[in-house]
């Protein structure tokens, strides 16, 4: 990929060398590396501040003197943020939610990538960015498995509880049960207790035995072990109890949650009758790990791979190239694996886009962390019988209020054999969130297997006001004058 320096005149025609979508760890590392190699970069991000979900931090008006208290690896972020702000080659475009990507033709100056973004509700709030190459660093979203009472106020997502804490310094309650599966639960519980909440229990559906099979992988990732140990030590100090092979099978309350019922699970995640226990609480933070957010690339027909937990990720080669020419990907979009991995892949992708050889350090980090990610995904893959705790009147689709009974009837009586048919018959997944919350559960209950499933094909990757779709493209964001 030529740079604006080696090719005089390039970057002057309103075309960036690289558009990075997402300003989390992967996107920030990629933008920083690409700019250091002389590329003119547009960094588009839906958020108002850089950092993504992982480095989400308090609004400046809150005057936080020690934001790092709620983070791991804050120094890496602080360095990247400072370099980003100082770089004349990176245009950070906050509040730009990319809803469609039109592929460009590599090497053809007249056919660049076109990234369409919305910036707000007005008809004119749309923007288009032109670039020779695109890099998808859109991260992941949480996977949720419903249970009776999960729509009660006070039941929130583990990631959401963390997001609200990190950005607005608030808690959903004083006594918060943390439940689901995956390492995010430990991180969430750890920050909740640090911020003053009481966590009566972390309810983890797996036994953690999956990790024992991967000892060599574990010892190859001492950083990950240290992180786990740090969370563990803090949780121990606060008397937080970890209940393994268990799940919250019901949340109680009328207008808000007042207690949960926890049951033990067998190896297939079927609740063991008679094992139920009630725990009083005023909030519940739930999550079953993360699923890559890859709609933009899926829409372009990019090849995917299915991970050990059934989650679908983008397939990339050793240089982070997707199967679509000119489209790179880094971080969780290539499979959920954490911030260190995302940082390394961001660097690798940017070096590849710039036509430079790989750095050996990043290649080694990627190898180790990808092995760890595979181990983790396998250890926390939802068991096949989790639907055993979903009663007939549990709302599976939160937006359209579709109970499991209707989904089961669509399958048993109307012969629906996949999530798509179930959706058409019941409206599950057709509401505001477009199936982001219920998609994996609906796929499972439809007999489509895999608690992750293939991402739905959506022509628009986020809600876009109709007026903006109708609006002809007027504003094209252009690279500003560089230092050369």
């Amino acid at each position: 990929m030529p740079t604006s320096k080696s090719e005089p005149g390039a970057g002057r025609a309103g075309v960036y060398d690289l558009a990075v979508i997402g300003a989390g760890p992967a996107g920030l590392a990629a933008a920083d590396t690409a700019a250091a190699l002389g590329l003119r970069v547009a960094l588009l991000d839906a958020g108002s501040r850089p950092g993504g979900q992982y480095y989400r931090h308090p609004a400046p008006e809150l005057g936080a003197a020690r934001p790092e208290k709620l983070h791991h690896g804050w120094t890496a972020f602080a360095r990247l943020r400072a370099r980003l702000a100082a770089s004349p080659l990176v245009d950070h475009l906050p509040g730009h939610h990319v809803w469609a990507a039109e592929a460009g033709v590599p090497g053809d100056e007249r056919r660049p990538w076109r990234l369409h973004a919305t910036r707000g509700p007005g008809a004119g709030d749309r923007a288009t960015v032109l670039a020779r190459a695109a890099l998808l660093a859109t991260g992941a979203y949480e996977r949720h498995l419903p249970f009776p009472g999960w729509t009660l106020p006070g039941v929130v997502t583990a990631g959401g509880a963390q997001a609200m804490l990190k950005s607005s310094l608030v808690l959903p309650g004083r006594r918060i049960v943390v439940a689901g599966s995956g390492p995010l639960l430990l991180a969430a519980a750890s920050s909740l207790v640090a911020a003053g909440a009481e966590v009566p229990a972390i309810v983890e559906a797996t036994s953690y035995l999956g990790y024992a099979r991967g000892l060599p992988v574990l010892t190859g990732n001492p950083g990950k072990l240290a992180e786990g140990t740090a969370h563990g030590a803090r949780l121990l100090r606060h008397g937080v109890r970890l209940r393994r092979s268990s799940a919250v099978v019901e949340a109680h309350g009328t207008d808000r949650v007042t207690a949960v019922t926890v049951a033990r699970l067998d190896a297939r995640w079927k609740p063991v009758p008679g094992s139920e226990r009630r725990i009083a609480c005023d909030a519940v933070a739930i999550g079953h790990g993360l699923v890559p957010q890859i709609e933009l690339a899926a829409e372009l027909g990019a090849e995917t791979v299915t991970g050990p937990d059934g989650a679908v990720a983008l397939k990339v080669d050793a240089r982070q190239r997707t199967s679509v020419p000119g489209l790179w990907a880094a971080g969780e979009t290539c499979g959920v694996g954490g911030a260190d991995l995302a940082l390394a892949e961001g660097v690798l992708a940017a070096r590849a886009v710039a036509g430079r050889p790989d750095g050996g350090r990043e290649v080694a980090v990627r190898r180790r962390r990808r092995a760890f990610a595979a181990l983790m995904a396998a250890a926390h893959a939802p068991g096949p019988d989790w639907t055993g705790w979903v009663t007939d009147d549990t709302d599976v689709c939160r937006c359209e209020e579709v109970p499991a009974r209707e989904i089961r009837a669509a399958v048993a009586e109307l012969g629906a054999g996949d999530a798509r048919t179930v959706k058409l018959l019941t409206r599950a997944g057709m509401g505001w969130c477009q199936g982001r919350m219920c998609g994996p559960a609906v796929a499972c209950l439809s007999g489509g297997g895999g608690a992750a499933g293939r991402p739905d094909s959506r022509p628009l990757s986020c809600p876009v006001p109709l007026a903006q779709l109708a609006e002809p493209v007027r504003s094209v964001e252009q690279p500003g004058p560089g230092p050369d």
Partner: protein, 102 residues
Amino acid sequence: MDPLDLVGAEPGPARTILFDGRPVPALPGQTLAAALWADGVLAWRTTRNGGRPRGAFCGIGQCFDCLATVNGRPNQRLCLLPAEPGDTVTTQEGHGHADLEV
């Protein structure tokens, strides 16, 4: 310890928003959803079919459970909107367009 002490936050003076006519403090930089959580309020809409209470679920603009009427405009996601002094939040019933029904 509370979240503000943990990070050594020194926000400016709280502003006041109105929730169903009742004053609620909001720190500068907080979203409307956060100001309500800090005040112990977890629900600010009722669902279209079951009339069930809902509030913030995902906290990041993805689930649309946190909809409410803000300054007269229905269907606003409170987890995304920064609290501005004098903002008026009203519990939203159903699709939020009851006033248009005949």
